[in-house]
Amino acid sequence: MAIELQDVSFTYLPGTPYERQALRGINLKIQEGSITALAGHTGSGKSTLLQHIGGLLHPDRGQVCIDGADLAAHTKQEKRAALAACRKVGLVFQYAEHQLFEESIYEDIAFGPRNFGLAETDVEARVREAMARVHLDYDAYRDRSPFQLSGGQMRRVALAGVLALHPAYLVLDEPTAGLDPRGRRELLQMIRELHAAEGTTIVFVSHNMEDVFAIADEVVVLRQGMILLQGAPADVFAQGEQIAAAGLRQPELMRLLSALRAAGVPLSAEETAVRTPAEAAQAIVCALKEKGGRTHAQ
């Protein structure tokens, strides 16, 4: 079971002077249970690709399948299958807090589950659970207006609104854009917790290579609507030239480790497992200790 895109092409405003091809023959398979990051320069087609996965845009050519069901339906029966497949995908837009509209946080999060036709008792359970997932206290926050919160908290309410739909695939467009470092860390933490607890498949777009490096286990680099690189973060980011060609930078952490290794710090080959600053610090301390021990012994 997976998200599969076969030869997907898409053009905005075809037949007008503003015509713009955003995707060109994308072939991509996103395995269930993985955390996949989409990276690429502005305008490379990341958001367009996400909207295809969410079933909000349909390809001009090729097809998008969720668990084997084609999202572009023609017959009535196909439509039902497509709708069911679409509902497995929870799409969180960029600056998701801009879509809040209800008077209370509870009502806003309940919007989705109610649209899915859930009974009110189930809705309440869903809201409770979703708020816990994004670390918002249910009793303290349920009746507050979402517009009185900080930007980071609003983003979390918006995320909860999608999590309440219990998506099997959570798709996020630049979830950490515009957040302060702490908000960013917390949000990534929530995504990781969700992945660990529910096994939700995560697909996210990011401009921030540290984010990608920290939580993704698969990276897809887009360039001008085509896939330029794909693979495990360490492998993908090792290809410095290609990364630069896509208008991206290697993660700082990776550059630090390469620089240290070049300077003679004996970092072990395990450094590929290093993802976060804390892990990096530990690896560096170990390496330095080892080096220190060796020089002493001489």
């Binding site: 905005y12 405003l13 007008t16 002077p17 503003y18 909207q51 969410g54 909000l56 509902r87 929870g90 799409l91 837009f93 998701a96 801009h98 879509q99 809040l100 509209f101 919007f111 989705g112 649209n115 899915f116 517009f147 609104g161 999608v162 739909l165």
Partner: protein
């Protein structure tokens, strides 16, 4: 979903009409409209029709796009034609209930409709070949003599510029919000009318919030750059008349003179 709404009317290009100074275009359009109303003999209509046709070809805007701008007028045309057909006294060729249909009515109706069509085509040619920003610049330039009698030409132009600037942005924003709510299961196409109306709230509230946020940001940004109205303000893109413009002015004057002379004879 909303992507099939073309952004404004402007059709980018580099034809003769596109290169004409926007002030020239506005003045010429105005003159032609006056001519359309003043001179209403068949020969005059023929001249104006040929002129419009020539402009349409010169603009290099696809014919379908141009004729598409007539679509909203279709019913009005039909209605106008019918009223003239039924209410003009003259030689009757048919009788329908209490109405008498006359040859004069037929001709009159036809010419009135032709006048409306030409009017709309000429105005569309202006908006198709002139970007909104140039249009407002030109309006400001043309209105500025009226500043002395208290017409806030600069402010009017600035308001128009800002409004036009934000139309595509707001369309995009609406599209995004609709998609986001759809992703949460909102349904804007099926269901009863009450349900559909209720579903407008999740679009309108974020849209209004966004409009106010943008207005606030814009006001702040303008203030931070010391905007204080039109006084002493210069423009980045100055409007300049080219030889082409003088040609257009001259041509229009000549045309009006000839039509007027024929009229007086």
């Amino acid at each position: 979903m909303l992507s099939n709404i073309t952004i404004g009317q402007y059709f980018p290009g580099n034809s003769l009409l596109h290169r004409l100074d926007p002030r020239t275009k506005i003045v010429v359009l105005f003159a032609l409209i006056v001519a359309l109303f003043l001179f209403d003999r068949p020969a005059d209509y023929l001249v104006m029709s040929l002129l419009t046709l020539a402009f349409m070809l010169l603009s290099r805007v696809p014919l379908r796009t141009l004729l598409g701008s007539l679509k909203p007028l279709w019913w009005i045309l039909l209605f106008t034609f019918l009223i003239h057909l039924c209410s003009t006294p003259g030689e009757e060729f048919a009788h329908l209930w209490v109405f008498s249909l006359t040859f004069e009515g037929l001709a009159h109706g036809f010419f009135i409709c032709l006048r409306l069509v030409l009017l709309l085509l000429l105005s569309s040619l202006l908006t198709f070949t002139t970007s909104p920003l140039k249009l407002t610049d030109a309006l400001e330039a043309l209105l500025s003599p009226l500043k002395r009698i208290g017409v806030p030409a600069h402010e009017l132009a600035m308001m128009m510029t800002i409004a036009l600037r934000f139309v595509p942005t707001l369309i995009e924003e609406t599209d995004k919000i609709m998609k986001a709510q759809q992703a949460r299961g909102a349904d804007f196409v099926t269901g009863s009318i009450v349900r559909r109306l209720k579903n407008v709230v999740p679009i309108l509230v974020p849209l209004f919030i966004s409009v106010f946020r943008r207005a606030d940001d814009l006001a702040m940004a303008m203030e931070a750059r010391c905007y204080h109205g039109g006084e002493g303000r210069t423009q980045m893109k100055q409007l300049h008349f080219l030889p082409l413009d003088y040609l257009a002015w001259g041509g229009t004057a000549l045309l009006l003179a000839v039509l007027a002379a024929l009229w007086l004879l």
